[in-house]
Amino acid sequence: MAFVKQRPIHIILWIISISVAAHGTLALAQDQCRACHEAIGDTPSTLFKRDIHLGKGISCADCHGGDARKEEMEEAMSKSAGFTGVPKGDEISTLCARCHADAAIMVKKYRSTLSLEQAELLSTSVHGKLSITGKERIAQCTTCHGSHGIVGKDNPASPVYPPNVVKTCAKCHANAAFVRTYNPSLPVDQLDKYRTSVHGMRNAKGDAKVAECASCHGSHDIRSAKDVKSAVYDINVPATCSTCHSSANYMKGYKIPVDQFEKYSKGVHGIALLQKHDLAAPACNDCHGNHGATPPGVQSISKICGSCHALNADLFSKSPHKRAFDQKNLPECETCHGYHDIVVATDKLLGVSSEAVCSWCHGGAPTSKAHLVAKNMRHLIDSLRSSESAATLLVDEAERKGMEIGEARFKLRDARQARLESRTMVHSFDEQQFQQIVDKGLKVASEVSEEANNAIEEYYFRRQGLGIATLIITVLAVSLYVFIRRLERRQRTKQ
């Protein structure tokens, strides 16, 4: 009775479904390749049962050639029937590209949204280079995607399903014997490090959103990290990280800020790397690690900053501030300098003014020792800066006047060096040591100023000398002229 109650449209749909199913059964029944191979029970035919291609109506013969309608093996797998057998080496990727790079097949026939450039990108990627045999490229499509059991990348059974990617890559990249045949300096512990990272730990729990290898390195278009086009080339790293970490929508649920890239870009490191292309400046991975990326803990911040700013970190560790920071559980460098948006450390950070970071803790009692030390250190560095500026102006003036003052100009570098040293010495918070460095700079600046002043005085002396010399020569010339006139007049009179 239920059948009777169906509306006409439902009956039509039911008939269509039955017809399609019958057509599929018919098609499958005609694929003699599968009929035989499944009867044998070999691995390819077993795996192929769940292959995405089978669902799209693609048969064994579509890749291997031959005539799938023939029951006799000799006929079905004959060369005359176009049987090509198992493709080898680069033939594999070429075979895949035959459909995957063809818009007529992929887009029109299968309504696919997959990129048509995968094979092309693979061939230009680091994996597209020739293997050690020299006969084929290093990786083929099947190296990562498998061959007969291929499923969509969102299917947990796929080797390229995000939580599975790391294992797929590690098949080769964790194999030291294999990797060293191509690049002995390439590490093979990426997976181990990755598992210690926040990304790796979440990935291990099946989080398909966190970054795995392909998220940063790309998939088909992987390039060497030294290649400027690589997503993990130093200058490109911040943008690569920001694709996820700057997306509020994507990061929803992870409860971490999404403004790191924005802050970093405005900071001293971001400006140096992204605007000045200074490869010595740190990108995200230089502080957080790359494969083992994790936020540095309070205790390790100074060690991380100290990997570049070694002297500052060393002086700080020996200073009384170290113990105070440890007691209050304050991150060492970050407390005064910030982290992602680290600004250029100017002398203004020092002292007890409202801009000075010292005043955050020592701004209160003006008679406290720390307050006085901070105040005096600022005074010293200010006086060094003004002495250096005054000396520079004098040297500039002497040079403008055409005086040779190259030696003083060269010496001026020592004054600048002393100022830079004093900025480093600030991290000792030792007034005496700091003053020694400043005094050294002040002495040099004073010597340079004296030399420049002498040169400027010499300039005026030369002008005066020229005036006197010109006058003497002119007087001599006029006298000679008068003498010649008289002489010639006398000669004319004699004649």
Partner: protein, 359 residues
């Protein structure tokens, strides 16, 4: 009691018989006409050359040749040695004024046809001295071992290297190797202070003896005038005193230039750095340099640069030997053709120097 100078003169006269020389000088007359002014440029050139010799010797007291020492020694001369800056500045300015005076002297002799018989040898020695003066300029330019000098020498020797057949050996000889190095500096120093002055002194001696022996050349047509109408002045003391007066004026100009526009030292040469933009040779090579830039890379089947060098070489050769092919002037006849060539040369040099300077 005779004055001291008279006693001194007598003392020398007693031994070397100055009477003959004094009589010779006393009878020596210089023609006076509307072109007489040009006679003085020979004397000005000589004066500037003497200044070059004196300041050059003074610079030698402190200058040290060598890649590591040359620049620093000049820096030392300019900043530490008393009046070292003045000596160096005068040496550099006088070098340029010397070339300018020699150039004016050469063209004045050319246009007044003073090279004609019997003064062919005077002209040729003068031309050889002019080429040597250019050599002095080129070799001396490298001695401070600064950036500009280094690259200008590189370009200059490169051009010499483009000469057909002998170019490469000439370039290697000038550089003391394939590249401009400390060996080039030592070589240029040797040329500048020993080889060139030696040859120059001999040529100058011959040139001056010839001038004294043959006297000043008279312009064409002057010889035809009656003796009574020819104006002259005694060489000694009139002409010599006028020469002295001009020398004083030149000295004044030189002092002003050396003090107001001291010759800069620039930056030390770094063979590994790239050449600074707009590198140019000294002004007296500019017209040739600019011409080479305008000649196409290939003219028919000949390399453009080679063609330019060969043409300049031929022009220089023809110019040097003008007394031997300008027979009309030697016969005392007017030769407008040589005048046109001279006018063309002057306009060409001035125009291309200005273009080269501005470009």
């Amino acid at each position: 009691m005779k004055p001291l100078w008279k006693r001194l003169y007598d003392w020398v006269d007693e031994r070397v018989e100055l009477v003959g020389l004094v009589e010779f000088l006393g009878k020596k007359y210089v023609p006076v006409h509307r072109h007489s002014l040009w006679y003085y440029f020979g004397g000005v050139s000589l004066f500037l050359f003497i200044i070059q010799v004196i300041t050059g010797i003074l610079l030698l007291l402190y200058y040290k040749s060598g890649e590591e020492l040359a620049f620093e020694s000049i820096q030392f001369i300019m900043s530490k040695v008393q009046f070292g800056w003045l000596i160096r500045s005068i040496h550099s300015w006088a070098a340029n004024l010397f070339i300018l005076a020699a150039l004016i002297h050469m063209f004045s002799v050319y246009f007044t046809k003073a090279y004609r018989k019997p003064r062919e040898m005077t002209w040729v020695t003068g031309m050889l001295m002019f080429f040597l003066a250019l050599g002095f300029g080129f070799s001396g330019y490298l001695l401070p071992w600064n950036e500009l000098a280094f690259f200008a020498t590189k370009v200059g020797t490169d051009i010499a290297g483009a000469l057909p057949f002998i170019g490469k050996p000439v370039m290697v000889f000038l550089r003391g190797g394939e590249d401009v190095t400390g060996a080039t500096l030592s070589r240029m120093f040797g040329f500048h202070i020993a080889l060139f002055p030696g040859i120059f002194t001999v040529l100058l001696g011959i040139h001056l003896v010839l001038v004294q022996r043959q006297g000043m050349s008279e312009p064409l047509g002057f010889e035809g005038e009656p003796t009574t109408e020819r104006k002259t002045m005694p060489f000694f003391p009139n002409f010599l005193l006028r020469d002295l007066l001009l020398w004083l004026l030149v000295l004044n100009i030189l002092a002003i230039l050396a003090v107001i526009f001291p010759w800069e030292l620039g930056r030390k040469a770094d063979p590994f750095s790239s050449a600074p933009a707009g590198i140019k040779p000294e002004w007296y090579f500019l017209f040739m340099f600019q011409t080479l830039k305008y000649i196409p890379a290939q003219v028919l089947f000949i390399d453009g640069e080679v063609l330019g060098i060969v043409l300049f070489g031929l022009a220089g050769l023809l110019w040097t030997f003008v007394p031997f092919w300008d027979r009309r002037s030697s016969r005392g006849e007017r030769n407008r053709f040589t005048n046109y060539i001279g006018i063309f040369a002057v306009i060409y040099i001035i125009l291309f120097t200005i273009v080269g300077w501005l470009s």
